[in-house]
Symmetry: C2
Subunit: 233 residues, 2 copies
C-alpha cells in the first residue's frame, strides 16, 4: 500500500517474507490455479530480484505443500486429492477446538474491534457476493482467530493446514459446486456467534463454534464434490 517498489527495501528476511506471503496469497486466491506452472525467471523479474532468492521462496512453498518442482519440467501449483483433503480437515477440526483450550488469551480491545470490522465486511458480502473478496475476508478472519491463542506452535500448525486446503474450498465456489449466497449467510452467522462468545470472554465456546462451522463447511463441500465428480482426475 505504502511503497511502490514491490520487494526492494528491508532486510533479506523481510524481502523473503514479502515475496512468500504474496505468492501464497495468489495461490490461495486462485490467481494461480492448481496445475499452473510458475516461471522462476518471470517471478524473479517481477519482484526485482534474481532467481536465487526467489528459489528460496519457492522451496519454502514446496515444503508447505503449495508447490511442486520437477527437474527439467517446471514448478507447479499443487492440487489436493480427496483423501488428503479429508485427512487435513480431520486434523483442522481438532486444532480448531484446541485454539480455545490451549493458552487462550483475553482478546485486546483492538482485536475485538477487528472482529467487529470483519463482521461489517462480511455484511457487505451479502449485498455483493464476490468469491474472491469472500476468500480474502475469510483469510483475514482466520488470522484474527489465531490471535486468540498464545500458543505459537499451535498457530503454526493451524496456519499450515489452513493455507493448504482453503483454495480447494474456493475452487468449489468458483465451480458453482456450492452456493455462494448460502456460504456468505452461514459465514456471517459464524462471525456473529464468535463475536458474541468473545464478548462474554468464553474463548472455549468461540473455538467450539469455529469447529462446528469448519466441520459443516467441509461436509457441504464434500457432498457437492462427490455428487458432481466422485473421483477428481
Amino acid at each position: 500500500m505504502t511503497c511502490e517498489t514491490p520487494a526492494a527495501g528491508g532486510s533479506a528476511r523481510d524481502r523473503f517474507e514479502r515475496m512468500h506471503d504474496e505468492i501464497r496469497r495468489r495461490i490461495c486466491l486462485l490467481d494461480y490455479a492448481p496445475g499452473t506452472r510458475l516461471s522462476e525467471e518471470t517471478l524473479a523479474a517481477e519482484f526485482g530480484t534474481s532467481r536465487t532468492p526467489l528459489r528460496r521462496v519457492l522451496a519454502r512453498l514446496e515444503s508447505e505443500g503449495l508447490l511442486q518442482s520437477v527437474h527439467g519440467v517446471g514448478t507447479f501449483v499443487t492440487d489436493v486429492d480427496l483423501t488428503e483433503l479429508v485427512q487435513t480437515y480431520r486434523v483442522r477440526l481438532e486444532l480448531a477446538e484446541l485454539i480455545g483450550r490451549l493458552d487462550p488469551v483475553a482478546p485486546s480491545l483492538a482485536l475485538v474491534a477487528e472482529f467487529r470490522a470483519l463482521r461489517a465486511r462480511s455484511k457487505t458480502l451479502r449485498d455483493d457476493p464476490d468469491p474472491r473478496r469472500f476468500a480474502q475476508i475469510n483469510m483475514d478472519f482466520f488470522v484474527a482467530l489465531m490471535r486468540l491463542t498464545a500458543n505459537q506452535p499451535l498457530r503454526e500448525m493451524s496456519e499450515r493446514l489452513y493455507f493448504r486446503t482453503t483454495r480447494i474450498w474456493l475452487k468449489s465456489v468458483f465451480a458453482s459446486l456450492i452456493d455462494l449466497k448460502d456460504e456468505v449467510e452461514i459465514f456471517d452467522r459464524e462471525i456473529d456467534g464468535i463475536v458474541r462468545a468473545i464478548g462474554i470472554g468464553d474463548l472455549e465456546v468461540a473455538a467450539l463454534i469455529r469447529r462446528a462451522h469448519v466441520s459443516m463447511s467441509f461436509e457441504r463441500m464434500r457432498k457437492a464434490v462427490e455428487t458432481r465428480s466422485p473421483v477428481t482426475p
Copy 2:
C-alpha cells in the same frame, strides 16, 4: 550403511533428503549442541557438494526451527526456551492422542516385529545406559509410532514438534538433571504397554499410553530444570 560416498548418488531430491536427515540427526543427538555455529563451506565440502544445495537444506532446517541464520554472522543451532517448550509439549500431548483416533491403521506384521525389536533394544539399554543410544532408540520408536496412523498431515505436524523439542530432553539427561536409569526403566515399560495394546488391536489405548508417558516425561524434565535453574540464560 550401504554406500561409502555420503551424498553422491540419486536425484537432487534424494541428496537433499539425505543431507537434511543427517544434519537433523546430528542436531537432535546433540552432536551439534544448541548455540553451535555451522559452517556452510565445511558442511558442503563434507557432503561433497557446493554451498548452493546445502543452503537449501539449512533454509529448510531453519523453517523447522532447528537453525537460525544471521546475515554476516553465521548459522546457529537454536535453543528452546521454557515458554516455547511448554507450549510445544501441550500440543504434542493432544497430537499423541489423535494418533490413535484419526485414521488408525491395523499394524502390519512387519511393524509389530519392529516394535518387538525396539523392545529388545530398550532392554539392552538397561544393562548399558548410554544417553545417545537411548535418544536414537527413542527416535526410532517415535517413527514407528507414526506408522500407526494413515493421516499424513497429522504425521507431519507430530514429527515437526518432536524433532523441535526432543534434544532439549536429551540435554537434560546429559546435564544429569534427570536420572538416565529411571528414564530407561520408564521407557521400557512404555514400549511394553504399547506393544500389548497393539497386540489386542486397540490403537486408541496405545495412543493414550503414549500420551501419558509424554506428559509424565515432560513433567519430570520440567521439575528438574526448574529446581536446578529457574531461568535458562
